[in-house]
């Protein structure tokens, strides 16, 4: 099977259309960032509190909001995530509502208090089973000893109950319950759970209509530092790549590759800004992946240009670049197509947690492939033509110059 049979496309001839498209995309993204006063950073960079809550039935967002307001948590953001039947909600609080660094988790506590008021139970002597850890469950089981294990010695009994509690909580957390049960009787499916265990749990716990699945609290200092660090480390990585490509190819190739990668990151960030998506730490991981991918793609093309230059010193450089891109086109399309397939499946099936991550990759794979051809290669051509134009016997001399530093 073969998609492309020796294509002969004049890539350098149509480059301006695509450079214009790139400029337009970059301009749109940068304008959006300027209008929105910077990128929309997630809580991990901005500082604040995010709580991910699952409800047993469709939550009433307005009721939650007014309850949060009553807890003095104004300006909170509440959004549904996943498919509607998941009943999942993310509640975000900005740093300004959680000012004191002494009580970092103040915001979270207030959210839980508010939700308990709405979806919990008034009687406070019992614990909420849906928000209890295996440790808590195990402590209560040990105290009551519904299986009558005391004769077997404390250590063995404690271990049995710890394993049982873990199994119970795992059952509660597994699909389709995903962290919430609505009746203790459901637990009878767990091996080792008998009527006594269920009675003990019923006695000590109640079942609320919500479960806190995930909490993220970031203090002001960490957020700023992380942002700075992510930027510096990425720039350092790009610098290191530039030096390596300089060493293996030529400085102009290194500059071209770095400019192309920078272009990819800028446009991807632009999409995030245009679509109001948040930049989180996992998005940064995706951007790092994108940098690696785009660089890989560019080097493959450059490698072919280098090889062809060595074989054909007299060939017109523009023709040579076109030929190199055409020769690698089949591989470029295949690789990016397959990678796109893989990240698309992440985007479609990967779930909410990595949504931003996979979105960045879906955009990045397309941009990264395209930039090797329409950004990186034209820059190399541009450098070559400028060098050639500055000298009367420019052309042949530059080709000779080309061969020297490109060593194997």
């Amino acid at each position: 099977m073969e998609f492309f049979h020796e294509p002969k496309i004049d890539w350098m001839g149509i480059k301006w259309y695509f450079i214009a498209l790139s400029l337009a995309l970059a301009a749109a993204g940068l304008t959006s960032m300027a209008v929105k006063k910077g990128l929309g950073y997630g809580i991990d960079f901005r500082g604040g509190t995010v709580v991910n809550v699952k409800f047993s039935k469709a939550p009433n967002l307005d009721a939650i909001r007014s309850e949060l307001d009553r807890e003095n948590l104004h300006g909170s953001t509440i959004q549904r995530i996943g498919v509607p039947s998941d009943h999942e909600v993310i509640i975000g609080l900005d740093l300004k509502t959680t000012t004191s660094s002494a009580a970092l988790d103040e915001g979270k506590r207030a959210i839980v208090t508010a939700l308990s008021g709405l979806y919990g139970q008034a009687e406070t002597s019992k614990l909420d089973f849906n928000n209890s850890s295996p440790q808590t469950v195990s402590d209560h089981l040990v105290a009551v000893d519904p299986l009558g294990l005391s004769s077997k010695g404390l250590d063995s009994a404690t271990k049995t109950y710890r394993d049982l509690a873990e199994a119970i909580v795992n059952f509660r957390n597994s699909s389709p319950r995903s962290g919430l049960i609505s009746d203790f009787q459901e637990l009878s499916l767990v091996p080792g759970v008998n009527a006594g265990v269920i009675a003990t749990l019923r006695n000590d716990f109640y079942l609320s209509g919500f479960a806190v699945k995930n909490t993220e609290i970031v203090g002001p200092k960490v957020g700023k530092d992380l942002r700075r660090q992510a930027l510096y480390v990425t720039l350092a990585g790009l610098g290191a790549m530039l030096v390596y490509i300089w060493f293996r190819f030529e400085l102009s190739y290194g500059v071209a590759a770095v400019v192309a990668t920078f272009h990819d990151v800028t446009i991807t960030l632009g999409f995030f800004s245009l679509l109001n998506k948040e930049i989180t730490l996992t998005v940064i991981a995706a951007l790092l992946t994108l940098v690696g991918y785009s660089m890989n793609d560019t080097i493959v093309v450059f490698d072919r240009i280098r090889e062809n230059v060595r074989l054909n010193k007299r060939e017109n450089f523009v023709d040579l670049v076109n030929r190199s891109i055409n020769q690698t086109l089949s591989r470029t399309i295949l690789t990016s197509g397959l990678t796109f397939l893989a990240v698309l499946s992440l985007f479609l099936f990967g779930g909410e947690v990595i949504h931003g991550f996979s979105f960045a990759l879906v955009v990045g794979v397309i941009i990264g492939t395209y930039s090797s051809i329409f950004i990186a290669s034209p820059i190399v051509v541009f450098f070559r033509q400028r060098l050639a134009g500055s000298s009367v016997v420019g052309r042949s001399r530059t080709y000779e110059r080309e061969a020297a530093p490109a060593r194997r």
């Binding site: 099977m1 988790d105 209890s132 203090g219 991918y293 397959l338 397939l341 893989a342």
Partner: protein, 534 residues
């Protein structure tokens, strides 16, 4: 090397990797346990609490400076060096702050005595004249000394926190320096999804001091000061006590403690004679000797039990006490447990602030794993299926290389104990992408060589040879940047760099070496003149 030799080498590597993942299981359950214990999932995947905290190391330097100041006053008196004032004059404009003590009004003829004292007793401090004032001197804590105090405080905090978490019984908890130079620690608590209690326990300074009461209790701070005409007697301090039915209490106590938490040999939760929860402590031999001397000489006086600069109790010393004591207060049973725990684990040398807290509930962890696995399988099957359709026979080759690549990656991570996190999975994805790319590069090149009319053997050799240069360049470039990410990045960025580096090295092995061996094997079995399935 002959094909056989190379094939055996590959077999050995694969065997080591597979055993690295599954061990030697006797049954299915053991196999599951082995795999689970060898693949270390990060907290974001398996659930738990991740805390970033900062040790306020400047506290420890301040304490040292305060003690030096107290001692200096005493020494000057003992050596008959008159002075007008000794006070702290820290320079907080710079980062880190410079700790200084200003000594004013030392007669010029006594300057030599001060200099001798400084060289003999204050080797960590630099003594210099204050410009424009011949009677004033400045003692500045040396930068190296301050740095060593800070590092010491960090290490001691780490040990203390580690002890406390250990005693809480959190399994597989880790504590490590987060960003060097910032005195930040990262504490990972797998399975803990309500960190409130753990956080309180980590944070409590737990500085226990037993101090003699000079006078008191007073009903307010002002009353305490007023009883001494507004100025406390030297070497004493005014501390708040328990607030009871009669309101606040304040005690004037000795600044120097008779014994401190360092002299404890043990602390256990217990009950006092009224059945209220209390903490019983025992002292080391050295501490007991000192405690015995102090209590013996002060029978009838009050002894303040001070925890974190707050008087919890001030019982009368009825007789000489040597090696044990009891702390009572308005404690719950839980609080007494925790207090005994933190006393046993030692005091923190500096206070702690929390910078970040991330709790992943186990159900979210399970959900993201499930989604991740589904997505990976779908993506993987799509890629593998496509390679088979597009490259036919050679597709099997590529798919084998890809699967081996992942096995090596997982095994290597298990061997070095690396942790798989969400960003780490990003590294795996890039690895798979580049693995596919390597194979595509090679195959496309072989096709090209075939189109040029080369014989099958020569085409395969040429394809590998040409593609090898490209593959080396792409891989080294990415590994170089991953090395930078690993060196300078923290947490998530590091996780990405680790999987990426291992994956790419494995990929060089599988797509260049293993794939070539398979090709050579196929070629060796091929009938002369038959076409290559690619």
């Amino acid at each position: 090397m002959k094909i056989k030799g190379r094939a055996i080498f590959i077999g050995v590597v694969m065997l080591a990797c597979v055993l690295g993942i599954i061990g030697f299981p006797k049954n299915f359950q053991e196999l599951k346990d082995n795999v689970r214990s060898r693949i270390h999932l990060g907290l974001d995947l398996k659930g738990g609490t991740h805390l970033v905290l900062q040790v306020q190391v400047e506290d420890a330097v301040n304490i040292t400076a305060d003690q030096a100041l107290e001692r200096l006053r005493d020494e000057l008196k003992a050596k008959n060096v008159p002075y007008a004032d000794v006070q702290k004059a820290d320079d907080t404009q710079v980062q880190p702050p410079k700790h200084r003590i200003l000594v004013k009004g030392v007669p010029q003829e006594k300057a030599a005595d001060l200099q001798t004292l400084s060289t003999e007793q204050y080797s960590d401090w630099d003594l210099s004249r204050v410009p424009g004032d011949p009677t004033s001197w400045m003692l500045a804590l040396k930068t190296t000394a301050a740095a060593s105090i800070r590092n010491q405080a960090l290490l001691q905090s780490m040990t203390t926190i580690n002890n406390r978490i250990d005693q809480l019984g959190v399994m597989e908890a880790t504590i490590a320096e987060y960003r060097q130079g910032d005195f930040e620690l990262v504490v990972q608590l797998p399975g803990v999804d309500d960190p409130t209690r753990v956080k309180d326990i980590i944070q409590s300074t737990a500085l226990l001091e037993l101090k003699l009461v000079q006078d008191g209790p007073y009903a307010s701070r002002e009353a305490g000061l007023g009883a001494h005409g507004g100025v406390l007697p030297p070497d004493t301090q005014l501390l708040p006590g328990p607030t009871g039915q009669n309101g606040e209490t304040w005690y004037v106590v000795n600044r120097v403690a008779a014994v401190t938490g360092r002299d404890l040999s043990g602390a256990e939760p217990s009950h006092d004679e009224n059945g209220r929860p209390s903490v019983n402590f025992t002292l080391t031999r050295d501490g007991a000797a000192r405690f015995g001397r102090v209590t013996g000489a002060n029978v009838g006086k009050l002894l303040a039990i001070v925890l974190d600069n707050r008087v919890y109790d001030a019982p009368v010393i009825n007789s000489q006490i040597s090696d044990r004591g009891e702390i009572t207060g308005p404690f719950t049973a839980q609080k007494v447990q925790d207090l005994a725990l933190v006393l046993r684990s030692g005091a923190l040398p500096a206070s702690i602030t929390y910078l970040q807290e991330n709790t992943v509930g186990p159900s979210l962890g399970a959900d993201s794993i499930r989604h991740g696995i589904i997505a990976c399988i779908v993506g993987f099957v799509a890629v593998i299926g496509f390679m088979l359709v597009y490259y036919r026979g050679a597709g099997i080759n590529a798919d084998l290389a890809l699967i081996l690549n992942l096995i090596i990656l997982v095994a290597a991570m298990g061997y070095i104990g690396a942790v798989l996190t969400l960003p780490g999975i990003a590294g795996v994805i890039l690895t798979v992408g580049m693995g596919v790319d390597s194979n595509v590069l090679i195959f496309e090149r072989i096709r090209e060589e075939l189109r040029l009319g080369k014989a099958v053997g020569a085409a395969v050799a040429g394809g590998f040879e040409h593609a090898f240069v490209t593959i080396i360049d792409t891989h080294v470039t990415t590994i170089v940047s991953a090395a930078i990410l690993f060196t300078f990045g923290t947490g998530p960025i590091k996780g990405f760099a680790v999987t990426l580096t291992i994956g790419l090295v494995a990929n060089l092995f599988t797509s260049v070496f293993v794939s070539r061996v398979i090709f050579d094997y196929v070629l060796s079995r091929r009938e002369k003149g038959a076409e290559l399935s690619i």
